[in-house]
Symmetry: C2
Subunit: 396 residues, 2 copies
């Protein structure tokens, strides 16, 4: 009897904080008039976006929150896919009673244009050749990603988003949403992000790209159907992982301990941190397309919200309220870059709150500091939803 | 007439601060008794070290300064090789009137064991097989490098070094000298260095190694006589370059400007920083051996001065005076690591001066902040040479 009760309790707990089984859906805009004119000037279509939604759109359509993912993310932000053991990448933030409470909000997440998780990208079939695009896929930018998402939001019948939110590249998309569609965004939560990519950020991406393109299996991007450039992409991912963590979080996690006691195992893994990097590098190549990595990192590097104007001009048009979140030990997107967002908001009179979370996790913190983020986001979203002022500043 | 005078003045200036033409010499210890027992337990010999000397050893043999180079350095620290346009790597610090004034001091620099600039390393001929060692070369450590140098110092007839000095890996060797041979070192100048390699430092090296080993031309290290694994080594070097600079120095140097105005040149260089990385990556492969890069980065990663003891025990044996130099924007060897050297010196009562230079150059600063370093080193060396106390602390 007690066993049955325990199982029931467990089920209740699971039901209480998980969205349960969710499904990815696909939206294709195929009409010629729906072709996207990209920033490069090229046109792209037909175009599919993979997306998921959680919760229900209210009758007034005022409760929609658009979640935007980072470099290696996808549309599967929360809940479980049938048969999966792991939930979506931001499951702890989305669901009943969570930061993005699905009892109140209608949450949307789509895989970016250029991605490899169901949205049109370099690994998709080029309708002209009937083969994967490879490098015939046009260059894309953060603005292009946002323009594609706008079609999806139209399709869902949403005129105005309550909030656009994301960390890292997701934050760039959130900023771009507010700048590109000022009438359609009520609030923005840019997390661990920047107004433009710096030379150091570009440099790390470029070395990753060079590693991929140095792999002879890459074959100028025409590897589909052949051997995947796994070694190159693994090196790129390993570089990424170092930049996502911090000196201190690595020291806490690994120390300097040898995986085995011996000096020199012919350049195999001897330190825990090496084993960790190998594991994550090898894992990544099973779930990500090498060309997509090239295209999306380039989109990051092109990112400069001012885009030929002054930042003042760009932000003067923005009508949204801001909650800006940054992490003290994040050296890939250092806090000074988030403070620059706050500064320009204040200069033009935008309601903006800046929060610096005292985390040691580095850039990864935006996926890990759930408790702090939940507190901040919940409070902020509630106020925006109810139409209150939201200005408060923490940690500066 | 005025032209002649100008040329004469120029020559005088050159003579006044350059050592002129210098030559690399080679010291081989070939006797069986001279074989080196390495930390791994393996024995290595015969063994050659390439070295250069500047200035003259005095009659009492009390003016010898040993300069220790970093990862990609060599024995050619100062002056010009016949026909070369560029002087040695620390020329601005070594010569008449400079920090290491060759009018007063006898300066020695040798290429490390495991290197590829004249000292025995993985690209040397293995006397057993008559072919280059490749991965049959044994694993080496910083301690092994120092033990090999000790033979050279014996050969030069020097019982006690006035100073051992180096930046980065050179600083580790300097620390190891003081620990391994306490009776033979009067002073130590560790610059931009650490008592042990951290997981983050290991991680950056490991990704570089993975890039090299992912290059199919690497062929398990047996590429001699065939195609050089240039792409892999270039990627490794590019990663290194990012870590040698700082976010701010990169922003000052490159901004975000495009090399050309166009979006998407099929993943060629579009940003100045990309061009810079490509240039330095390509350059490096013409002057450095890929296997040496593997061996020397491993030596760095193994480095832990305490080596099974406590730091207190290690430093209690040390008799040298310390001048510790670090740079504020160095995030590869952050200042906290230099402060740890100061702390342990103070704990055991070693005379130690710590100087934190307010540079934006990042780790590269040890090669660039010549004026500050000259001031500090000159002052310190003079006091050690004359037997005065040297304790002063700046910047903390």
């Amino acid at each position: 009897m007690s066993k049955t009760i325990a199982v029931e309790s467990l089920e209740k707990i699971e039901q209480s904080d998980s969205l349960g089984v969710v499904e990815t859906r696909y939206f294709t805009f195929a009409k010629a008039s729906d072709e996207l004119t990209l920033e490069s000037g090229e046109r792209l279509g037909p175009l599919t976006l993979a997306y998921e939604t959680y919760g229900k759109l209210n009758a007034q359509k005022t409760n929609a929150v658009l979640i935007l993912h980072a470099l290696s993310g996808d549309a599967h932000a929360a809940g479980y896919h049938e048969g999966d053991e792991k939930p979506g990448w931001w499951d702890e933030m989305i669901g009943h009673g969570k930061a993005f409470d699905t009892d109140t909000y209608f949450v949307i997440c789509s895989n970016v244009l250029g991605g490899c998780k169901g949205s049109t990208g370099s690994s998709s079939i080029n309708p002209v050749t009937n083969k994967p695009y490879g490098l015939d896929f046009p260059a894309i930018t953060i603005k292009d990603m946002v323009n594609a998402q706008r079609h999806l939001i139209d399709h869902l019948g949403i005129e105005k988003l309550l909030c656009v939110v994301g960390g890292s590249m997701g934050g760039m998309q959130a900023l771009q949403w507010a700048a590109s569609y000022p009438e359609r965004v009520r609030s923005v939560i840019p997390i661990a992000t920047t107004l433009k990519h710096s030379p150091q950020q570009i440099a790390f991406n470029e070395v990753g790209r060079q590693a991929i393109m140095a792999d002879p299996d890459w074959k100028g991007g025409n590897y589909y159907g052949g051997t995947f450039p796994a070694k190159g992409l693994a090196v790129a991912r390993m570089i990424g992982h170092i930049t996502y963590m911090s000196d201190i979080s690595m020291s806490e996690k690994f120390g300097r301990r040898f995986n085995n006691g011996k000096i020199h195992s012919r350049f195999g893994a001897e330190f825990e941190v090496e084993g960790y990097l190998h594991y994550h590098g090898d894992n990544f190549v099973r779930r990500f397309d090498a060309n997509s990595y090239l295209y999306i990192t380039k989109a990051l590097d092109y990112f400069d919200l001012s885009n030929g104007k002054t930042l003042y001009e760009v932000f003067q048009e923005i009508k949204a309220k801001f909650l800006i979140i940054a992490f003290k030990s994040d050296w890939l997107y250092p806090t000074y870059q988030s403070k620059e967002i706050l500064k320009i908001c204040k200069l033009v009179g935008i309601e903006a709150t800046y929060c610096e979370i005292n985390s040691t996790y580095g850039h990864d913190a935006f996926l890990l500091e759930i408790e702090e983020e939940t507190h901040l986001v919940k409070h902020f979203l509630k106020k925006v939803f109810n139409g209150y002022a939201v200005v408060e500043n923490y940690g500066i």
